[in-house]
Subunit: 199 residues, 2 copies
Amino acid sequence: MEYYPASMNTLIQRLARLPGIGRKTAERLAMHILRQPVAEAHQLARSIVDLKQKLRLCERCFALSDDAWCRICSDPSRDNGQVCVVEQPADMASIEKSGAFGGRYHILGGVLSPMDGIGPDDIKIEALMERIRKEKIEEVILATATNVEGESTAAYIAGILAPLQVTVSRIASGVPMGGDLQYVDQVTLKRAMESRHGI
Amino acid sequence: MEYYPASMNTLIQRLARLPGIGRKTAERLAMHILRQPVAEAHQLARSIVDLKQKLRLCERCFALSDDAWCRICSDPSRDNGQVCVVEQPADMASIEKSGAFGGRYHILGGVLSPMDGIGPDDIKIEALMERIRKEKIEEVILATATNVEGESTAAYIAGILAPLQVTVSRIASGVPMGGDLQYVDQVTLKRAMESRHGI
C-alpha cells in the first residue's frame, strides 16, 4: 500500500471493494484510468454519480427505471395480459435478452427466506395482488429461481393467487439446451424426467 | 442494451471499456454500485476524479506522485548510491513489494521499440544520464523486462553508461522460485543454465 501515492492508493482501495475485483485487478484498472484521457475518466465518475441520482424503481413493476414508469411498462406494444414475476432486475434483463416474452414484468425485489428473516411483507407480493385486481392480467408466470428459496416463493405466490381469476404458471426446468447429460446434476435430471412430454 | 434504463446502460458501457471487464462483469459491477450507499458510490467517483487531478510524475525519478517528489525520492532513509531503472510505475511497485531494494528508482516510462517508433529520446534516458552526473550514484541496476524490448533497452543503456564512473548491473533471470522445471520454457532454462553459479 506504500508503493503508490495516496490518490492512487485511495482509488485502488475503492475499486477493490467491488465484487470480483481483487487488489491486482484494482491496480490494473487504476493504471488504466490514469492513462485514459481526463474527459473519459470524468465521464466514468459522472456516470456513477448519475446512476445513483437518476435511477429509481418503476412505480408499477419495480424494475429499474429513470422515470416513474420503466421502459417496458410505458411500451404500449407489450401484452398487458401476461405478467412475468422475477426476483431481481437482472433476472428481467436475462429474460428480455432471450426475447421469449412479450408481456410485462413484476419484480419482487427478493425472495422469501425465513432464515434471513424475509417474509411475504418484505417483497412486492401485495403490490402484485393489487395489480391483478386492477389490471386485466390473464396469466402470471412465476420465473423465480429454481433453488430452494425461489421454488418456495413460487409455491407461496401460486397459493395466494389460487382464489383469483388468473392463470398461474411456472417456467419449465430441466436439462439446459446444449447440455451433455453426464454433466447435469441429479436433481435437474430427475425434474427433466418427471416433466417429460410427448413429441 | 434495451433492458436497462439509460443511466444504467451508460455506466455499464463505460465500465465495460476498462481492461479485463466484459459486458457481464460490467453489469454485475453496476448492480453492485446501485446497491451501495450513495456516499460510497460518490467516494468511488470522487477518487477517479482526484486521481486525474492530483497525480503527476516525480520530478526526479518519474514515479507516480501526488507531490513534486515521490514518496521514495523524499525518503531520507533510502540509499542514494543505488538507482534501479524500470520501465513502468507498476514495475517499481512490484520491486517495492518484494522488499529487496533499498535505493532509489528511475522510471523510463517505456521501452525502446523501433517497431512502435519509440527511440532513446522518447523515454527518460537523458534524464537518467543527468542524474548520474549530478547525484552520487554508484550503481545503476537495470530492471527492465526480460523480453526482447526490455533486454535491448537494458543493453542500450548499459552501452551509453559504460564511459561513466558508475557500476551497471542487470537483474538476474532464470527459473522462478517454486517453479517446476518441466513447466519452465526453453529460453529461461537456457539462461538459468548459462548463469549458473557455485553454491
